[in-house]
Symmetry: C2
Subunit: 118 residues, 2 copies
Amino acid sequence: MTARAIDLAEKLAAFTEHWQPRVIGQFNDHDLLVVKVRGEFVWHQHPDTDDFFLVLAGRITIRLRDGDVTLGPGQLFVVPQGVEHCPVAEEEAHLLLIERRGTPNTGDRATAAPRREI
Amino acid sequence: MTARAIDLAEKLAAFTEHWQPRVIGQFNDHDLLVVKVRGEFVWHQHPDTDDFFLVLAGRITIRLRDGDVTLGPGQLFVVPQGVEHCPVAEEEAHLLLIERRGTPNTGDRATAAPRREI
């Protein structure tokens, strides 16, 4: 076995696009992803999975229908399954995401970013 | 809803014991935990779950039967289900762990630390 640590900064340095998560590993039946975000995403929900956000750099606000949650580095939030949310970042932010394997990032396969490994 | 971010440093500041994970949240059918570690844990394996380690501060080595993986801040490693491992930290290190809900930290309910929320 050539087991190696996964370095989040190294993975993030390998791409520049926003809202295009990259799969960096697997955990049980979940994908581990890193993503760079800036600006406003779309309102969406995931009917089959909670949505895990950990901020690595920068700051994001996760808009919920009944309030906002703001996260900085070292802060995490889990959007429960089925809860509508809209992530927003005024400046570029870097996140670790965990979702059930194959979850479309927009909640809809028609508009989702392709799942890309890195 | 009074949704709030979970601040990892704040959670870690609330206790001092080593190898006593605290549950800080849930994600799908998993517990999110923070733990402070120092010294050598025990060789063990989890027959029912992968074991997610993300280093927040310090450095750990995860000994595996066929090699070691060393992790610093911002680095993660997933020990596959059923793979024997022994975490070691020369100096105190702080980790985010994710495990299937209720997984005993030693792989054995008889010797496991109690699941404590924080």
